[in-house]
Symmetry: C2
Subunit: 231 residues, 2 copies
DNA sequence: CATTATAAATGAGTCAAATTCATTTCGGGG
DNA sequence: CCCCGAAATGAATTTGACTCATTTATAATG
């Protein structure tokens, strides 16, 4: 038997979650303007006025939904990075994770990106901080990669980040547009990573790295010494 | 002396332009929600109802403003591409042109991107077509680049496009955020192009000076002499 | 258990702004 | 000068976010 939630704190918590879940569903289905506060209230089994006890206004409500999403997204990114050692393996993981999660919550993210961009600056603080926390994971991977010598140091890390997420976002949109978001995911990840590594210019065919003749000569000399000593 | 506009057609035309200009200003200044139809009407010296004779609704009005912007943008891109021959020169031109124009109309573009993303599919046709016409210029440059052997053929052109515009858009946002949109523009263009060419992986260091084969031959001869002397 | 202070919740009412439409004005051809 | 349809007007309608006076539920206290 499910015990009734007892403490005030618990009931308030449960209600907030119900509201967030309802808002998530309605925003995702109808978009921002299309979502009516009445409908969210009905779905959460709550009066319209109650919404405003939990969130200052419609924007704040959406921001609440987004914040929950970002929390999951960032936590997943951190776990994954910890699980890999190589910089490019980490980047590949981050790309896959980002695409998976973003495609799963596509409508929601489009809303967020849209609002983020038309709101006056001062209201963006919230979104900005969420995003900052998320991309920090990427930034750490890059700066460690540079430190280890796996990435060129002359590329500014922030530009690399813009390239990474900018490309992924656009690619995700293209996939969605074509309805290929499940089938073509892996090839896209592979290609993006390859582009990130090697660029798009056709490599001028360089002969495979020449054998290090000097080292070989050195080995021969040491052989000679051994022979001489044996005598 | 400025002759009064006479024909009906001319007057209607002039009015539409006045409305678009007013809308442009108000949208850019106040954002989509912040822009009031009354204010646009006042600026265009027109009654509120008149706006609806020229544009179905507020969204259509914004779309009109955006369409004008895209027309300029696309025309500029085409002129530039025609003026250069080399693929990477063309890409560099396109990057600079895109950043210049987008930074100049930043507010407006943020609005457009925002709306584009929260509107239901069926209302996106308009924006989609505008964008398609614009990126077609890029696509032609790329496919010609592949044809000429200046770009690797195994990268799908659409992914290259997503990389190009995705990165530029994100980079532009970063620049704006830091208020460095004028100072740091050129370095960003250079870096983006370099990334596009060569990627981010550190090239495995090749010995700068080729091994001195003559010297090595000398060392081998000396080894041989030592062996001979022992006999 | 009754009392009461306080926290939570309610939903009818307010208000701002987009959109409509009945009415008016305009301009050019007869 | 008059008439007609096109163009323009702005008051009225509609919609939906947000407020707030009122009600209800909860837990602490005697």
């Amino acid at each position: 038997m499910k015990r009734k939630l007892t403490t005030r704190r618990e009931r308030v918590q449960a209600r907030e979650e119900a509201i967030l879940a309802a808002a998530h569903a309605v925003f995702a289905q109808r978009g921002f303007d299309g979502a009516k506060m009445v409908e969210i209230a009905r779905r959460a089994r709550v009066a319209e006025g109650t919404l405003y006890l939990y969130f200052k206004n419609k924007h704040a409500l959406l921001e609440g939904v987004i914040a929950a999403f970002y929390a999951r997204l960032t936590a997943g990114a951190e776990r994954g990075v910890a699980a890999y050692g190589d910089t490019f393996e980490r980047l590949e993981f981050l790309a896959r994770h980002h695409l998976d999660e973003c495609l799963a919550e596509w409508r929601l993210l489009e809303l967020m990106i849209g609002l983020y961009r038309q709101l006056p600056e001062y209201r963006n603080r919230g979104y900005f901080k969420l995003n900052k926390a998320y991309v920090t994971v990427f930034d750490r991977v890059v700066s460690e990669g540079i430190h280890r010598g796996e990435l060129r140091e002359e590329v500014p890390p922030w530009l690399l980040r813009d390239l990474f997420y900018g490309t992924l976002e656009y690619a995700a949109r293209t996939l969605k547009l074509r309805g290929r978001e499940n089938e073509d995911l892996e090839p896209v990840i592979r290609q993006v990573l390859a582009l990130l590594r090697h660029g798009a210019a056709r490599p001028t065919p360089v002969p495979a790295t020449p054998p290090d003749l000097a080292a070989i000569a050195g080995r021969l000399e040491r052989v000679a010494e051994r022979l001489e000593r044996r005598s």
